[in-house]
């Protein structure tokens, strides 16, 4: 496929610049946060650089293939990731109590990460046909709901509440974006609220307890609640100026679980203080707003919905993760894009960026 020269002219250097800036700072932060961890093998930050490079390669590939081409494969990609989820339940590797990983050769990866992308593609494909008059009706939404519930059920079974919630949030964000009729939206909301107590009775005792703890960490001051206190201490002790690079103590002493993944932001807050935190949060805000602009300026519906889905994914990840570290969101396992350690998550994030770049640079073409 020959690359159109116009593509290079319209290439979105601003977006790429923001992403590279966040990712570099992320690796610096990961280096500091895990410096004192005694781990056999390659240190986390080196592995993360490796994942970043792989991810950038995939990002460029994804960006330069004309995105309309993806519409032909949207449902197939969706089916493949769904199949991988089933494989995970059957043959997956169990780590810290959940079965999330699939091993291919020496690589193991988390299919649930890629479900987020394939769900966005599948929904974009479905919604690229515009609704009549006042927006989509309830009857038209049957298939999208099916598209959501299949992977969500499989992921809940792993169990991975964080990713399942993510799918739900992405899904509803897209529903609002593509315009669903207000009465339908109301019915969905009400029946969702009505279903909660019904589903509640089906849950086992330990599941109920777990969910209650999610929303009220004080119920479990020894597990999640303890981590929350430690996380708040870490961020708060950074003060305005921070303790300085490599000078944090909370994270390094191992008070926080998953310090390199879900709680990575607490290391930033501790070492860089309010100044550093605001800088990163500001970059994230710019990234999200820039992404929104890409979505509304897209050439066609398919591109717009893809771009919006990716932005919604980023936004919810950022908001829930930082909110959780700061103690304003329940502790659910949702990582921070470009900051948290993890290969599958890094790649799926950068594939998302690739899609954004793709839509962005083709906004004047076709």
């Amino acid at each position: 496929m020959q690359i159109d020269r116009r593509l290079l002219i319209h290439f979105d250097w601003t977006l790429l610049g923001m992403v590279l800036a966040i990712a570099s700072l992320g690796i610096l932060n990961l280096y500091s946060a895990t410096a004192k961890m005694e781990m056999p093998g390659t240190p986390f930050y080196l592995k993360q650089i490796f994942w970043l490079l792989i991810g950038l390669l995939m990002m460029v590939t994804v960006a330069f293939i004309e995105y309309r081409f993806y519409s032909d494969f949207a449902y197939i990609a969706y089916a493949i990731t769904l199949f991988l989820l089933i494989i995970v339940l059957g043959y997956g590797i169990i780590t810290s109590g959940a079965q999330r990983w699939v091993k291919i050769g020496t690589f193991s990866f988390q299919p649930s990460e890629f479900v987020k992308i394939s769900l966005i593609l599948a929904l974009a494909k479905f919604f690229h046909r515009p609704p009549h008059r006042k927006g989509y009706s309830l009857k038209q939404l049957l298939l999208p709901f099916l598209l959501l519930f299949l992977p969500m059920g499989l992921i809940l079974k792993q169990p991975d509440l964080g990713t399942a919630i993510m799918l739900l949030f992405i899904f509803f964000s897209i529903l609002i974006f593509v315009k669903v009729r207000w009465p339908s939206l109301l019915i969905i909301g009400l029946s969702g609220a009505g279903l909660v107590p019904l589903l509640w009775n089906f849950l086992k005792e330990y599941q109920k307890k777990r969910i209650l703890t999610f929303f009220n960490p004080d119920m479990d001051p020894l597990g999640a609640g303890y981590h929350l206190i430690q996380s708040k201490i870490a961020v708060g002790s950074g003060g305005v100026m921070g303790k300085g690079f490599m000078k944090g103590t909370q994270c390094k002493l191992g008070f926080l679980p998953e310090q390199q993944t879900d709680f990575i932001f607490s290391a930033l807050g501790e070492e860089w203080g309010l100044i550093g935190s605001l800088f990163i949060v500001g970059l994230y805000l710019a990234l999200v707003l820039w992404g929104l602009r890409i979505a509304v300026q897209a050439k066609d519906r398919f591109g717009a919905i893809i771009a919006f889905g990716v932005v919604a994914m980023f936004f919810w990840h950022i908001f829930i993760n930082i909110g959780m570290v700061l103690g304003i969101m329940p502790v659910v396992g949702i990582p921070l894009p470009l900051f948290s350690y993890g290969g599958s998550f890094m790649i799926s994030t950068l594939v998302g960026v690739g899609l954004l770049l793709n839509v962005s640079m083709r906004r004047y073409l076709f």
Binding site: G135, P221, L222, V235, G236, V281, V288, D300, G323
Partner: protein
């Protein structure tokens, strides 16, 4: 490739400004929170972080109690005072180590080793130095506590088994949770160092017994002393288990063994509930509750009599003459013999190049089924075996559940072996020899069974062929006495054997205990009719010219195992029992008297001296 669809793009543009506002508000929320944590509460939180002020204290739940069927407590928890040190606090006060060592009578080295052993410890997590300290040590430690930063004395529940080794194999023991178990308990994780059930009922009902651990989050000062609690979760005790065994009966059974080794299982044949379960030698479960010492563990594992094995379900022995019950049933059911079929016993039976002998040297003469079972004539059953054939005998053995696990809810049950011609071909690659059928038909050779399996056999016979799943727990109650689970009797199978056949065998088993010349006479009771069968399981094959009376001169480890299986009362069986005495010699002299004591106790009968028989033969003591 699909065509461009650019309709109604204005929908997106319309919602754009709302989205921007929403995102802005969300980030504003984050900003406010950052401000409040880092600017407003910043110095407070920094102080907390510098002193590492928040500590976690565990508060483990009481384990559920084990009670017998009548509510006697077999296992409970008692408070134990445990001494912990927090290594991080010791760094600035190394003299604490010496002082604590002096008070507890241990050396500094020993304490340091214990601290080093906990490699994966989270920071500031206390290390247990000594558990179950006595009052004197406690008093000295507590009064010096102010001078001993980094020291922590905590009360923990400790498992206590008031009857010591009583029913230890059934109850089981505890042990420290290992890495595998830590990984597997994903829903409700264990804390490191938790004691969990490793064997017996303690293991199988772990999830009911464990309860929910609690704990406290506390703020401490720079010396590690508690200032105030930040959060508390109360522990919740585990559920109580009502076992099916009867404490008094279990005691009687254990005492009846004196210093002999072996296994006894008794159950109610009409429900499958286990009434007593003895395995000797036994072990002391209390030493597991306080973390077993390595030398104690070693001596248990290396003991040649396997005290850690529940021989009732894990020991596999040749069934000996008790298996004649199956051979008799196979003969009758196949029509190869009738109750009147007679064979001649001359004390020996030449077959192939071997001389198969009867335990009775002079022979039984012309003998039919009833007397053959009563007097346990080997030669009669050799001939029945030859007529019926190995596979049909194996079929009836399987009908009564031999050769497969009973499914009792205890770990490590063994299935035993029921040989057949196809089994031998598969196992050894050679065909079955007819000569082997002779050994098989009297329960020797390849045949292996656990005491529980033979108990199932005799219960099946007692109960018209019906066998119930052997169960050890009757019900589970929470601490308020509310029933959580109940285990009603479960019918496992009904052996496909005619009532007529069973009646004939039952009569013969009654004869074996009560008739003149019956081999099980040592279990005869005055007021109640017992039905039973003796047996001897060969450990080694003794030379053909060996005299039975010479058994006392054989080294103990080569002596035969003694069997006795029985049920009583004959008319309405309330208890079935299987007794095995390892290297006990003969069933009548070693095993049957034990069964007698247990049956007497269960049926509330007066203990009676051995029933004198008018024409008791001296060699009946050595009957097979």
């Amino acid at each position: 490739m699909m065509e461009l669809n650019t309709q109604r793009m204005e929908d997106f543009k319309g919602i754009y400004k709302y989205l921007v506002v929403f995102v802005g508000l969300a980030f504003l929320f984050i900003f406010i929170r950052l401000w409040s944590l880092q600017v407003i509460k910043g110095s407070d939180l920094r102080r907390l972080s510098e002193n590492n002020c928040v500590r976690l204290r565990e508060n483990p739940a009481d384990r559920g109690m084990l009670l017998d069927r009548k509510g006697h407590i077999l296992a409970h928890n008692r408070p134990s005072f445990e001494v912990y040190l927090i290594p991080e606090d010791l760094k600035s006060n190394p003299e604490v180590l010496v002082e604590v060592g002096r008070i507890l009578n241990t050396t500094q080295d020993e304490i340091e080793q214990k601290i080093k052993a906990q490699k994966k410890r989270a920071p500031f997590k206390p290390v247990r130095i000594k558990s179950d300290i006595d009052w004197k040590e406690l008093a000295v430690l507590e009064s010096n506590r102010v001078h001993l930063p980094g020291l922590l004395v905590d009360v923990r529940p400790m498992r206590a088994y008031d009857y010591g080794s009583l029913a230890s194999h059934l109850i089981g023991y505890l042990g420290e949770v290992d890495e595998n178990e830590l990984k597997q308990s994903k829903e409700t994780p264990y804390r490191m160092g938790a004691l969990i059930g490793k064997y017996g009922v303690e293991y199988r009902w772990e999830n009911d017994l464990r309860g929910t651990d609690g704990g406290r989050q506390i703020e401490v000062d720079a010396l590690g002393r508690e200032i105030r609690p930040l959060g508390i979760v109360e522990p919740f005790p585990g559920n109580n288990l009502f076992l099916t065994i009867d404490l008094a009966l279990q005691k009687t059974a254990e005492e009846a063994y004196q210093d002999k080794n072996g296994a006894l299982v008794a159950m109610d044949p009409q429900t499958g509930r286990i009434l007593a379960m003895v395995s000797k030698p036994s072990f002391e479960p209390n030493i597991f509750a306080r973390n077993i010492l390595s030398e104690e563990w070693k001596s248990l594992v290396e003991n040649p009599h396997h005290p850690l094995q529940n021989k009732g379900i894990q020991g596999q022995y040749p069934a000996g003459s008790t298996f004649k019950i199956v051979t008799a049933i196979a003969g009758l059911e196949s029509g190869m013999i009738t109750p009147n079929t007679q064979f001649i016993c001359q004390g020996a039976f030449p077959y192939g190049n071997r001389n198969f002998r009867c335990w009775k040297e002079g022979g039984h003469g012309a003998i039919s089924l009833h007397r053959a079972l009563v007097e346990s004539c080997d030669i009669y059953f050799y001939q029945v075996g030859l007529k019926v054939g190995v596979d049909l005998i194996a079929h009836y053995a399987n009908e009564f559940g031999l050769g497969k696990m009973t499914g009792i809810s205890l770990p490590h049950e063994r299935p035993g072996t029921v040989p057949s011609s196809s089994w031998k071909k598969k196992r050894f690659g050679v065909p079955w020899y007819t000569g082997e059928t002779l050994s098989f038909s009297v329960g020797q050779g390849y045949l292996n069974a656990t005491p529980l399996q033979l108990l199932m056999l005799i219960s099946g016979v007692a109960n018209g062929g019906k066998q119930y799943l052997p169960q050890v727990v009757e019900r589970v109650e929470d601490i308020y006495g509310k029933k959580i689970k109940e285990y009603p009797p479960v019918e496992l199978r009904k052996a496909n054997v005619s009532e007529k056949t069973l009646k004939i065998v039952q009569e013969a088993l009654r004869g074996a205990v009560n008739d003149p010349h019956g081999t099980g006479w040592t279990c005869a009771l005055k007021d109640v009719k017992v039905a039973g069968k003796t047996g001897t399981a060969q450990v080694v094959r003794l030379p053909d010219n060996f005299k039975k009376g010479d058994m006392d001169r054989v080294p103990l480890k080569f002596r035969d195992h003694a069997w006795f299986v029985a049920y009583a009362p004959f008319e309405d069986p309330k208890i079935a029992i299987a007794v095995l005495v390892e290297h006990g010699g003969f069933g009548a002299s070693a095993a049957a008297p034990i069964a007698k004591k247990v049956i007497e106790k269960y049926l509330n009968l007066e203990p009676s001296p051995p029933f004198k028989m008018a024409d008791k033969q001296s060699d009946l003591d050595h009957a097979d």
